[in-house]
């Protein structure tokens, strides 16, 4: 949805170089922040559902301690964290007019994101083989829902980054559109901070 929003602009303000708005802020960027405010409630809800339910399992059920592989998840968390760095590089490259740099960093961000998602897929299959399915117990349902929603957000982010990358290749992402990259970047960083929270609360909290 984010890119559909971001893509709205010129339909109403063809003179987009100059922001013709009451606050001086572009509509798209404001919309993204408003949207992120709303996302706080979404992830907050999912996280609460997880915290509420993680302990509601029988003594012999598969629980967090049985499946979590902290070293592995730490690495993939680190990868996602670093993708935020490459993302800001992409933004700052295009802001300076360095289109090639922008492309490189966009691709790098997407790649790091993809590694993270791949790690998540691996993690899910590993957990599944250890006996934790989506339907196994409340912990399973809540865990997969929360991390799955996050994974879906990352995936959408990757698709948007790839789209930007292709656009850039085809010359449709000139410096004047730096804000598009910045807006997608906001989304990307948000997904990252959500993971910061998930990683701490879901994985690292003493069970």
């Amino acid at each position: 949805m984010a890119d559909t929003m971001a893509a709205e602009a010129t339909t109403h303000s063809p003179h987009a170089e100059e922001h013709h708005t009451s606050t001086g802020i572009s509509n798209e960027k404001l919309a993204m922040w408003v949207f992120l405010g709303s996302e706080c409630l979404l992830f907050g809800g999912l996280l609460s559902v997880y915290m509420f339910n993680k302990g509601r399992i029988g003594p012999t059920d598969v629980g967090p301690n049985d499946v979590f592989d902290i070293p592995f998840t730490s690495v993939s968390s680190f990868v996602l964290l670093m993708s935020s760095l490459t993302m800001v590089f992409a933004v700052s490259a295009i802001a300076r007019g360095n289109l090639r740099g922008n492309r490189i960093w966009l691709a790098a961000t997407a790649a790091l994101g993809a590694i993270f998602v791949a790690g998540q897929v691996y993690e899910f299959t590993a957990f599944y083989s250890e006996g934790l399915g989506f339907t196994t117990n409340l912990f399973g349902s809540a865990f997969y829902s929360l991390t799955g929603f996050h994974g879906a957000h990352v995936t959408i982010g990757i698709i948007m980054l790839m789209t930007l990358f292709v656009m850039s290749l085809r010359g449709n992402l000139p410096q004047q559109r730096a804000e598009t990259v910045e807006i997608i970047g906001l989304y990307w960083h948000f997904v990252d901070i959500v993971w910061i929270v998930i990683f701490t609360i879901v994985y690292l909290f003493p069970q």
């Binding site: 339909t11 063809p14 987009a16 708005t21 405010g37 029988g58 085809r170």
Partner: protein, 682 residues
């Protein structure tokens, strides 16, 4: 502005992306934009906030008849003891659909109709911030609404209808206890209308913050704009909560998750918390727009500015805030701890304070005024009076110990119909009469309007007044029938008669619309002019019906009630006198040089994709996959679409004569077709 092929050394493709020069050409053959405003297409592909508003209104009115018909069946079944008009199973489906339809498909979209139509006008804007997104919100809402409503027909009459009540408590909503597909329809349908509300809330928030005309600072905005803004914020933060709840429900029902599986250790109260964290802000989402409408109508017909403008705004904000801290008053008996009960009981009570401020300020506005009881004014004063009754019974619910006697009885049903019908529906009907001339260019008949009001008001009180008594005498809600020896027969019969009186009133209202339209057409009378009521806010400053481009030129605002102050001034003695005739102040809509966004195919296609995904989730995942493909395709189509149709060369110069571009009474556009001109095509 439109740049045709070759005029710029444009790269292969062009995109309607933010920031940067517009490079318009035609990327692939399919990605053109539809043309102008001709016939039905002009409605399907429109991105004009006014048409979208009208469509919201028409859809809401349609669903109101559906929900009202369901209400009549409820009342028929309950008219006598041991009623047998519809069986228990059907009854459960009927009251569930009645509640869901009325809340999500009537009250919310009807408020959205006013928000879409009026919000940009009141802040002097050309359109909302994201016109295509706005169109998408509508189609998405309609998709959700149709999906929900279709549950009554698919697989047999009322066979697959949601039957868990509108708040659909777990675990009764699980597959185990409701094995047919009804509750899937509920979960998926509300999820879809939720997306619509969320998108439109983002859009409207950005619109208000960013699209205000020159000088329109926040505290010069009309109170309606303020209330709508607060409503959008409530939606922004409340929708995700129900989204989470509905996802859990969907996962449980469709893919065997355990969120509400008590045997696996789940606690059903989780659903209640999530639902009401959404649900209580939701009731203020419903009522604040109506409050805003009342705040526009009363000053106009009192010939006075709104009493205590800042307090009205502040109390609206206070209600918005406090609305987040009271949700558990719906759960006083569900087993939350005594401290929680105490806290939520007290927090709930104090919402009466800001609400009371509103009521009293309306009275203050009327005080000393020159009150003209036109139809809109009747409805507005009706709100002041009837909402107070509902509010007061609300305060008696907030007394937690006595709520244990009241909850889930008809006393509650009485409360919320007084606030909802007496507050929201009356308010919205008032708005309908008030802005009708602005939207369509002619007045509704006052005689019929007033008559309909009185019939509705009387019927309403006869329907819901007795429910207070029934509730206190112990009649539970959601029961398909009651025993003869329980003593509920008399007042139930009164309520049923009352409901049919309301139906007559509603029929009179519809007849009024039909008759006024017909008379106006036949007599060939001219449009009413910009300002039939001598009103105050900016929307009255442009021609009626509003031209497609809204205002001929940008308005510079210097104060609250700008339009009124342009019409009136004070002479040396301080008396209010006419400063300029309305015709001089208002725009006549003749400017044809305003740039307008082209219509677009993609919002409705995207809505269609979502509808497919919806049915797919319920019936067959392959269908959902097809829907996803359509969805992704239309998102890319959306992005790749040029901002204007390159074929429509000279788009700007050609101008936009509005003609009767805003449809006829029944808003389906078919008879309007003939009168519309193909304005955009060169």
């Amino acid at each position: 502005m439109t740049v045709t092929d070759g005029a710029i050394t444009a790269p292969e493709e062009t995109l309607a992306l933010p920031a940067g020069p517009v490079i318009a050409n035609r990327p692939l053959g399919v990605f053109t934009r539809p043309q102008g405003n001709e016939g039905w297409k002009s409605w399907l592909f429109t991105v004009d906030h006014k048409r979208i508003g009208v469509m919201y209104g028409a859809a809401a009115m349609f669903f109101f008849l559906v929900g009202g018909a369901e209400a009549l069946f409820i009342r028929l079944q309950l008219a006598t003891p041991d009623g047998s008009v519809i069986g228990a199973g059907t009854y459960n489906g009927v009251f569930t659909m009645h509640g869901v339809t009325m809340i999500f498909l009537v009250a919310m979209p009807m408020a959205a109709a006013f928000a879409n139509y009026l919000l940009p006008l009141q802040i002097g804007a050309r359109d909302v911030a994201f016109p295509r997104l706005n169109a998408f919100s509508f189609w998405c809402f309609l998709a959700g609404g149709l999906l929900l409503t279709s549950s009554m027909l698919i697989g047999g009459w009322f066979q697959n209808v949601p039957d868990g009540g509108w708040f659909n408590y777990a675990p009764n909503s699980g597959v185990l206890f409701s094995p047919h597909k009804g509750i899937d329809f509920y979960a998926v349908g509300l999820q879809i209308t939720g997306i619509a509300s969320l998108v439109s809330s983002i859009n409207l928030i950005v619109t208000v913050l960013n699209m205000r005309t020159k000088g329109m600072s926040l505290f010069r905005m009309p109170v309606l704009t303020w209330m709508l803004l607060i409503t959008q914020f409530l939606l922004l933060f409340a929708i995700p909560v129900i989204t989470v709840a509905l996802f859990l429900l969907m996962f449980d029902r469709l893919w065997d998750a355990n969120f509400f599986n008590v045997a696996a250790g789940a606690d059903p109260l989780l659903w209640q918390h999530l639902f009401w964290i959404f649900g209580h802000p939701e009731v203020y989402i419903l009522v604040l727009p109506a409050f805003g409408i009342v705040s526009e109508i009363i000053p106009t017909f009192s010939r006075k500015p709104l009493f205590g403008y800042h307090f009205m705004v502040a109390s609206g904000i206070a209600i918005g805030f406090m609305g987040w801290g009271v949700w558990a008053h719906h759960m006083f008996t569900s087993g939350i701890g005594p401290l929680a009960v105490a806290a939520f009981s007290v927090s709930t009570m104090f919402i009466a304070v800001p609400t009371g401020v509103k009521i009293l300020n309306w009275l203050g506005t009327m005080y000393g005024g020159r009150l003209r009881f036109t139809t809109p004014m009747l409805y507005a004063v009706g709100v002041v009076s009837m909402f107070t009754i509902g509010g007061l019974s609300g305060v008696t619910h907030s007394i937690a110990p006595s709520d244990t006697q009241q909850t889930d009885t008809y006393y509650i049903v009485a409360h919320f119909h007084y606030v909802i019908f007496g507050g929201i529906i009356l308010g919205l009907f008032g708005g309908l009469h008030f802005w009708w001339p602005k939207i369509f260019g002619y007045m509704l008949d006052e005689g019929w309007g007033k008559a309909a009001f009185w019939v509705i008001l009387i019927g309403f009180n006869f329907t819901f007044g007795p429910m207070h008594i029934l509730g206190l005498q112990g009649m539970s809600r959601r029961i398909a029938t009651y025993r003869a020896d329980e003593g509920f027969a008399f007042w139930n019969m009164v309520a049923t008669i009352g409901a049919f009186v309301i139906a007559i009133g509603v029929a009179m209202l519809l007849w009024n619309i039909y008759k006024s339209t017909r008379d106006w057409r036949r007599a060939g009378r001219p449009d009413v002019g910009p300002d039939p009521w001598d009103a105050r806010a900016l929307e009255w400053m442009t021609a009626s019906p509003t031209p497609e481009h809204n205002f001929d030129s940008e308005i510079e605002v210097e104060g609250l009630d700008e339009f009124w102050h342009r019409k009136y001034g004070k002479d040396e003695t301080g008396r209010v006198v006419r400063a300029a005739p309305t015709s001089e102040v208002a725009h006549d809509g003749s400017n044809t040089k305003v740039h307008l966004p082209s219509p677009s195919y993609w919002p409705i296609v995207l809505g269609g994709g979502i509808l497919l995904v919806g049915y797919g989730l319920i019936y067959n995942l392959w269908l959902a996959a097809a829907g996803v493909v359509l969805l992704v395709a239309s998102i890319y189509g959306w992005i790749l679409e040029p901002p204007d149709d390159p074929e429509a060369a000279g788009h700007d110069e050609d101008g936009h004569d509005d003609g009767d571009g805003h449809g006829d009474a029944d808003s389906n556009g078919d008879s309007a077709e003939a009168e519309e001109e193909a304005a955009t095509v060169g």
